[in-house]
Symmetry: C3
Subunit: 153 residues, 3 copies
């Protein structure tokens, strides 16, 4: 059995950003020498996710609009009445009592999920034709880490 | 270490459909000869999910109603005001500018998640008494693939 | 390759409860003798989840409020109009026709996801500084099981 671990650090310019990392994950697989196995791609933070989706700008923009309604930031006006009612009832996230302002990012992380696991077949990520792997930053502008762990033979 | 990979193709009659696949996954485990390990079950499309839930018709119907409110299709009337406000603000998904009409399926895929990983113990899927594995199709009527990857010993 | 399987039973006092289990998972890793690998932590029920988040009381309380709006219980008044519209249209979950009252817990399980997979590096859970593992009970007050499966070398 072989295993190989790679850490990556992201420091996005914008607060929220989708960064395509399919190539990084394939590179970790290449370096591992694994031809049959699994690779875990997991954010090491609770305000960032990992997402497999289409690399199509429209859907990524749709996603951020939609996530801002379902998990509304309190550092900007709610997008509409639904976002307002999905905001916390005390007026702000209880989590912010300690000085944070990223409560929404915790819930976006919950919706998107913070990890994926990808199959490796014949040394290649065994993905469908439109599946790309994204690091989904919801509270960026500072260095944040991701772990890629390859396991197999 | 043993590994075994199976691809399945689904071509559902209806646009949305839950297909129970617990037996297919167990069969892949049987064919792998693995008695202790993990099996990944992952949709190879970004408009379909894999879900572990109860095989109870009521909950599956509830799920589709609920997912249609949270991630509203734009090819039919929004179910109610909440669905209307959770629809994209430009009137339609930006993703549809290229001629697609399945933006909602991308978000249902995000909510349901496109994969599960199941433990294998003594050669059996180590599931709870009500846990069944479903392929969750949100944009069917055409052939779509799923990968089952068994890893273990 | 080594594998090690541990089952845990939770019988929470309250109907909904977040139970921190990072220590339990590390203990399973210790007992497995695995220094490089993966560990799956998966609820064996369809009304409980496993969540990696911050062990900060505010965010956990925020989470329950928010999940009760998105996946509204029918055994108490909807929190507000959004929760009312996200409730099932027939007035109650179809799932309840068989005498159940936990339809909301199925959907909270879907949102939170019922499992995580954690990397093991040098014999330690390879988590970020604020990542804690929680068992998320949404329909407690009775014994429910969780499986921890370690795989590696």
């Amino acid at each position: 059995m072989r295993s190989h671990t790679v850490y990556e650090t992201f420091n996005t310019e914008r607060r929220r950003e989708f960064v395509r990392i399919t190539g990084d994950v394939q590179r970790a697989v290449d370096d591992s020498g694994v031809s049959e196995g699994l690779v875990l791609v997991s954010a090491m933070h609770i305000t960032a996710g990992v997402w497999v989706n289409d690399d199509e700008p429209g859907i990524l923009e749709d996603a951020l609009e939609w996530l801002d309604k379902l998990a509304p930031p309190s550092w900007k006006e709610p997008a509409n009445d639904v976002a307002r009612e999905l905001s916390p009832d005390p007026g702000d996230y209880r989590h912010h009592r300690g000085g944070e302002d990223n409560g929404d990012a915790h819930f976006k992380n919950l919706l998107v999920h913070h990890q994926v696991i990808l199959p490796i077949t014949d040394g290649r990520l065994d993905l469908g034709p439109w599946q790309q792997v994204f690091y989904a930053e919801f509270d960026g502008g500072r260095p944040k880490r991701l772990v890629i762990k390859v396991l197999g033979e």
